[in-house]
Symmetry: D2
Subunit: 334 residues, 4 copies
C-alpha cells in the first residue's frame, strides 16, 4: 500500500486526487491547500482524507511515501526539493520548473536521494501518442520530415506563466518522445492582446538533427478547440486529432515519390493510398500515468517522464521564451 499526499487542490489537483484514490494499493492520505474552502471540498469527496495548510506537515509525516505537486509552476522547484529532501518520492506537474538549472538540481537531488521524481507529461501515457511512437519506431512513416502541432482554444488564462509554459509542454514532450532527440535550435514569436505582460498566443519552430523540423502554435485565444498534430515522413503521414471521438489517429499511405530514372523538372510523382484509423485502446492517460508512478516506485526503475526527461522539456521551453523575447532570434541549445 502506497500512501500519498497531494499539494494543491485548485484546477488540476482534483483530477490527481480522483485518479490516485481509485488506484488499488494506493491510499490518498493528506491534502495540502492554502484555502480552507478547497480543503473542505476535498474532504467531502474523499472520506478519511486529512487536510493541512502547510506542506511541511506533509513532508514531516513518516506515513507518507510520495508527494503529488499540483501547484502554480513557479513553486514546483522549491516544493519538489523539499519533498525529495524529506525522503519522499515526487510526482510534479509539468513543466517541472521555470528554469533549466532548477530542473538539473532536482534531477541530481532525486538521484542522490534514490527517490523517483516523475513529471506529469500525461500525453506520454496517452494511447494515441503511444501508437504513433510505435509506428515511428517501426519505420512505418519512413524517415521523419516534419511535425506540426496546433493546440488552441478559448482557454484558461494563466496568472503566472505564458501560453508557452501552459500549453507547449504537451507538444514538446510528445515531439521529444517521438523523435528521441533534442532540438538544436528554436525560434519563437509570441503576442499578447487582452493583458499586456503575459504571452497569450505563440508560434515556435524547432530544428532537430538530420534536418527534422517541428513547429507549434499555442493560443488561449481561438474560436474553437484544436488539438491537431501532423507527422510527415518520407513514406507515410499521420494526422493526430485529439478532439476526434472515434478516429484520433489517421495514417495516410501516401507521399511523394522520387523517380530516379527521369531527369528534369517533373521527376516527382504522387502516391495516393488508403487511410487507416487504427483501433486505439480507450484507457485514460491520467490513470495510466498514475499507475506508471506507482510502478516506478515499486520497481525502482524510472518512468518515461522521469526527471531527466522533464528537464529536457524545461530547457526547450526556456529557449522558446528567450527567443520570443528577442524578436524570434534563433537560439541554439548547447
Amino acid at each position: 500500500m502506497l500512501t500519498v499526499g497531494l499539494i494543491g487542490y485548485g484546477y488540476w489537483g482534483p483530477n490527481l486526487a480522483r485518479v490516485f484514490s481509485e488506484l488499488p494499493d494506493v491510499s490518498l492520505h493528506t491534502l495540502c491547500d492554502r484555502s480552507f474552502e478547497r480543503q473542505r471540498l476535498a474532504r467531502s469527496r474523499f472520506h478519511r482524507l486529512s487536510t493541512c495548510t502547510n506542506p511541511d506537515e506533509l513532508f514531516r509525516n513518516p506515513d507518507i511515501d510520495a508527494v503529488l505537486i499540483a501547484t502554480p509552476v513557479s513553486t514546483h522547484a522549491q516544493l519538489a526539493t523539499q519533498a525529495l529532501k524529506a525522503g519522499k518520492h515526487v510526482y510534479v506537474e509539468k513543466p517541472m520548473s521555470m528554469r533549466p538549472e532548477d530542473a538539473e538540481h532536482l534531477t541530481a537531488l532525486a538521484k542522490r536521494q534514490r527517490r523517483i521524481l516523475m513529471v506529469g507529461h500525461t500525453f506520454l501515457y496517452s494511447p494515441p501518442v503511444r501508437k504513433i511512437k510505435q509506428m515511428i519506431d517501426q519505420q512505418t512513416l519512413g524517415r521523419i520530415y516534419y511535425i506540426n502541432c496546433s493546440r488552441v482554444n478559448l482557454g484558461l488564462f494563466q496568472p503566472d506563466v505564458s501560453v508557452f509554459y501552459d500549453l507547449a509542454p504537451h507538444d514538446i514532450s510528445m515531439i521529444l518522445y517521438w523523435l528521441n532527440a533534442d532540438p538544436l535550435w528554436v525560434c519563437a514569436e509570441g503576442a499578447s492582446f487582452v493583458r499586456k505582460k503575459i504571452l497569450e498566443v505563440g508560434f515556435a519552430t524547432m530544428g532537430f538533427p538530420r534536418g527534422v523540423v517541428a513547429h507549434l502554435h499555442v493560443s488561449w485565444l481561438a474560436p474553437s478547440k484544436l488539438r491537431q498534430t501532423t507527422v510527415v515522413g518520407s513514406k507515410r503521414m499521420i494526422l493526430y486529432d485529439d478532439t476526434s471521438n472515434n478516429e484520433k489517429v489517421k495514417l495516410f499511405d501516401q507521399g511523394v515519390v522520387r523517380n530516379p530514372e527521369t531527369f528534369g523538372e517533373f521527376q516527382l510523382t504522387y502516391r495516393s493510398g488508403d487511410v487507416l484509423s487504427p483501433h486505439i485502446d480507450a484507457s485514460e492517460p491520467l490513470r495510466n500515468q498514475a499507475k506508471a508512478f506507482v510502478e516506478a516506485i515499486e520497481s525502482g526503475r524510472p518512468p518515461i517522464s522521469d526527471a531527466r526527461f522533464g528537464g529536457r522539456v524545461v530547457r526547450v521551453l526556456d529557449a522558446i521564451e528567450a527567443s520570443s523575447r528577442q524578436n524570434g532570434k534563433r537560439r541554439w541549445l548547447r
Copy 2:
C-alpha cells in the same frame, strides 16, 4: 467587345481561357505557348482561336486590347513590361514578380502608359473573403488581434519558386486586404526534404501596426488538404475553412471579457455565444476576377488587386524569403 490574348497554357492558363471565353463582350483571340501540343489542345477547345509561339506576335497585334499572363513567375515582370509598352492592358498571375523593384517599375510603367495592370489575387474576388472583409470593416469582430492561416496539402511541387512564392500570396493578399495595412516586420523559417534547394514547408510571422500579428503555414507536404484561416478580434472570432462545402465562414460570438471592477488575477471571464454561418453567394471567384478586369478597363478605375496592391504582396514575399535564408531573423519593411 474586348479582345484578349493569353500567354501560357500550362497548369493554370486553361482556367483563364475558360473563364474569359465565357464572359459576354470578351473575345479570346490568340493563345501563345511554346508547346505545339498545348496550342493544339487549346484550339480543340476554343474554336476560332489563333495560336502562336512567340509572345511578340501578340504584343504587335493591334486587334488585341489586353494580355493575360499565366507563365512561370520568373517571366512575369519581363512579359508584363513588354505588354504594357505595346499599349496593352495586362492581367498577370500572382505573384506579380520575383523582386519588389520589378513590381515598382511595372506599377510606374502602367501609370505612364495609362493602362490597367491587374494581378491575379483571386481570393480578393472570392465571396467568403469579401464577406469577412465586410464584417471586419463593420467592426463586427471588434479590434483585430491576430490572424492565423494554414494552406497545406500534398501539393504540386513548383520547379522554379519556393512554397512561399507558390502558396503564401493567397494568404498575404487576404491579410493585406482585410487589415488594409502592410506588415512592419516578418520572420520566417522554411525547410525542404524531398528536393534540396527549394523550400517545401514554410512558417512566417508578420507584425502589423497596433500590435496585430499574422502567422501563416504553407506546405506541399501534408497528408490532407487544409485551407484554414482564423481571425481573432476583441469581440468576435471567425473561422474560415475554404474546403467546407456549406459553412465556409463561421462567426463565433464569443470572447474574453475584461471585468474592470474586480482586481487581482481572475479579472477575465469568458463569453460563450451563438455560432453563425452566414449565407455566402456561390459565384466563382475566377469569374468575378475576370469581370473586374473587364470593368477596370472599361471604367478606367483600377481593380482592388491593382499593380500597387500586387507590389505590396511582392514586398512581403521578398522579406519572408530573406528572413528564411537568415535563420528566421526579423526583417523590417521600411
Copy 3:
C-alpha cells in the same frame, strides 16, 4: 431534506445514484439490488448508504420519501405500483411499462395516492431539446412538416426488450414534446440478425394531426454512433446532432417558397440563408431531471415527464411493436 431509495444498480442505476447524491437537500439513503457485489460496490462509492436485497424493505421504511426505479423494463409496473401504494413518490426509468394498460393504472394510482410519478424521459430536460421546443413554439420553423430521427450504433443488446423499447422512447418523447400531439397511426418494421427473437434494428413511421409525419430509425447494429434529428418546417429547418461537441443544434434559414403569381411547373423557388448554431447551455440533462423530480415533490406540480406523458409514450411503443409483428401494417391509435 428529501430522502430517496434506489432500486437497481446495474448499468444505469449508478448514474441516478451519482446525480441524486450530488443534489443539495437530497439524501440517498438505501440501495436495493439483488447482487451482493453491486451492493458492495455502491457502498464503497457512497458512504453511509444502506443496502438491501428485497425492495419491500425500502417500501416499508417510513424515512424514505421517494423511490427511484432503474430495473429491467418488465419489472417497472409492479415495483412502481408497490412504491406508490406504500406512499412513496416514484421516479421510474423509461419506458414506464411494457403495456399501455399498466401505464394507465399507474397514472390513476399516483393521482389517488397524491404522489408524484415521474418517468425518466431525460431528453425532455436536455438543453438542445428544450431550445428546439422553444423555437418550434415561437413559430421559428413555421408550420412543421416532418421529423426524422436516427439513433444507432454498435449498442448494448438488451436481454428482455426490443431495440424499439430500448432506444425509441428517447425519440418518441422528444417528438410528442415538440409537437404537443399524439400520432394518429404508426407503422413499423423490425429485424434481428444476431439473436433471433428480439428486434435489433427498427424503422417506424408515425402520422400526426394536420399531416405531420415522423420517422425513426433505431439500431444496435451500426458502425458508428449517430444521434441525428431533422425537423423540417415551412420556413426553416433544424439539424440536431447530439454527438456534436460544439454545434448540437443548427438552424437553417432556408426552405422552399411557393410563388403564387406564376403558373405551371416551376412555381417553386429555393431560399438559401444563414445557418445559426445557437449557444446551448451546458447543464447536464440527468441533473436537470433529478432537480425537476425534487421540485415536483416540493411544489406538488407534476413535471413535464409525468405519468400521463410516460403513458403516451408507452401507447406509441406498443403500437409500433404491434405493427412490426404484423408486417408493418398501419396501426391506428384510438
Copy 4:
C-alpha cells in the same frame, strides 16, 4: 467512330452531351429538344452539332448509330421503343419507365432487335460503389445483415414523378447490384407538404432472401445534403458517404461476436477494430458509364445496367409507389 444523337437538353442532357462529346471515337451528331433556346445553347457549346425539334428526324437518320434519351420519365418508354424499332442502340435515363410492363416490353424488343439497351444507373459505374461490391463479393463483411440509405437535401422538385421515382433509383440500383438479388417484399410511406399531389418525402423498407433488410429515406425537403449508406455485415460494416471529399468509404473492422461457450444473457461481446478508408480511384462515374455504353455496342455484350437490370429497378419502384398508396401495406413481388 460511333455517331450518337441526344434527345432532351434540360437539366441532365448537357451532362450527357459533355461526357459523350469528350470520348474518343464518339461523335455527338444531333440534338433534339423542343425548345429553340436550348437548341441554340447546345450549338454554342458543341460546334458542328445539328439540332432538331422532332425526334423522328433522329430516328430516321441512318448516320446515327445510337440514341441517348434524357427526357421526362413518362416519355422514356415510348421514345426508347421508337429508337429501338429504328434500329438504334439506346441509352435511356433512369428509371427506364414508369411501369414494369413497359420495361419488359422494351427488354424483349431490344433482344429481338439485337440492339444494346442501357439504363443510366450511373452509381453502378462509380468507384466507391464498385469498391463496396468487391468487398461484399470477397466476403469482407461476412454475411450481409442490412443496408440503410439516406438521400436527402433541399432538392429539385420534379414536376411529373414522386421523390421515389426521382431519387430512389440510385439506392435501389446499388442495393440490387450489391446483393445480386431482388426484394421479396417492400413497404413504403410517403408524404407531401409543399405541393399536394406528388410525394416529396419517402421511406421504404425492403425484405430480401435470407432475412436481409434494406431501408431507404429520400427527401426533397432536408436542410443539408446527405448521401449516406450503411452496409452492416456479420464481420464488418461499411459507411459510404458520397458527400465526403476524401473518405467516401469507411470499413469498420468491428462487430458483435457470439460467444458459443457461455450461457445466459450476456453471451454477446463487442469487437472493436481499425477503420480503413481504402483509396478510391477518382474516375468520373458518368464518363465510366458512357464508356461502358460504347464498349457494349462494340463488343455486343450487355452492360451491367442493361435493360433487364433497369426493369428490375422499375419493378421495385412500382411496388414502393403501390405500397405508399395503400398506407404502407406490405407488397410482395412475385
